[in-house]
């Protein structure tokens, strides 16, 4: 891994590797921002998120385990998804592109020019 990369460990829920723009969802009002190919990032999801989850290329949540909404939905829809990405909605704020590796359980993104990479 490059030293200029930030990374965040997480738990894979449904495999796949996706590169996309992270969209932080704080409430249902933000869901319309998700365009095809974006990565939906939220503390957790519920059924009202589903249309946006269908549009997204991948889903990242801060919480959840095997039986949480995001995990079950992802397995049923074969959508790359990672869970337990601690503080993802905060650390990914302002980031323009991320790589979600739902095989290994890792999110990576480029650090700013003068920053060192950091493992969150």
């Amino acid at each position: 891994m490059s030293s200029l990369r930030h990374s965040l460990k997480c738990r894979p829920a449904c495999s796949g590797i996706v590169i996309g723009r992270p969209i932080i969802i704080h409430s249902q009002l933000d869901l319309d921002q998700i365009q095809s190919g974006d990565v939906l990032v939220a503390v957790e999801t519920d059924i009202s998120y589903v249309p946006a989850m269908h549009r997204a290329a991948a889903v990242v949540t801060e919480r959840g385990g095997r039986f949480c909404h995001a995990a079950v939905w992802a397995r049923e829809n074969n959508k790359p998804t990672v869970l337990q990405a601690t503080n993802a909605t905060a650390v990914l704020e302002g980031v323009t592109l991320i790589r979600v590796d739902a095989e290994q359980g890792l999110i990576e993104w480029e650090a700013e020019n003068d920053q060192q990479g950091k493992e969150y």
Binding site: S27, Q28, D46, I47, V50, H54, R55, R66, V72, W73
Partner: protein, 365 residues
Amino acid sequence: MMPMTANQPLRHRNSPLVMVSRDTEVDFSTRCGIDRSAAMLINVENRIDLHERKFGRDRLLRTIEKVSPHDLSQHVSRYRVLVRSNEWPNVAEPAPLAEFLNDYELASLAYVDVGFIALEFVGAGNDRTYASVYHQVVASEALRGQYGKQSPTGLDARLDWYEAQLTAVLDKILGEATPNAVDLLCIPNEPHLTAESAMLESFAQVRAIFAEPPTIDSILAAEPTPHEIVWKFLRRHAQWSIQHLNEYYHRLGIDLLQDRLEVARNRRRDLAARRSELMAEIARRCPATVLGQIIHFANALAALNHINLTLEPSFSFKGGVGLGHGLIFNLSEKKMPNGRPTQSEIARDKWALRDKTKLTTAEIT
């Protein structure tokens, strides 16, 4: 394992729960499989249907139409905060699974009954005082919570327990061969769909009736629709809000909908095939006694997970009856800033509500 008795000590969230085994007097396979959870879903939906008709469907849609867009859009997140930031008198009830499922159903029915009392109040259609409705809403939420995620012997605790049991048995049989074995065994099979899959299928049916976003008048004019399609969607996925229903039109365009329907159907077929292969592999590798154990745990997980994926998202606080509760909770900030009942009062009221719902349900059925 021994069956539970009322005298057994209370258990903490992380302690092992004692569940009923196949050797006890409760016939696990016939009383606790996914058929039982599917029956629960039907019973709760029928109860909502009963209330809808008593309340008046026209009136119900118009009552919800008056809820502010802010209250509608913030409902789930506000309710979640309310549940998590307040103390609730959840006690451990390490009952057999069959008993737990019965209690879960009663709590869900009580939540429906009180949800409509709340909606009646919001629609100014009854002469109850706010304090009386608020106390019932608190008791109803407490009863729902008693069997829910935060409870020491609630849904999530039981899912975790059965997951651990099944994982331990499967690890011995399969080793690393099928890492997703537990996932495969606990996803509901068709015809039992998760709320998300049901939502896609149901929305496609609604779109077949209304190509464009409907209004209250056009919905009422189209009554009755075959198989109650529109009402099932409204109550399960849109909190009876025409605004919410119309958002689905906006967010799930016809092309995306068709594409996702096909993906989801293919995926379900694929998962069903893999599940069959897995069961065949398990049957080849393990003796009959262990196979019985696996089926026992997998049936329990499937039933609990089915509740987790159907009743919980559609008819708990995220649904329309939950909105009724939420609107009453919202009013409490103004009307009763210091009026939250004590823990012992909430506990007393929630058990009284359970007893009352048991009687009401017996009368209805």
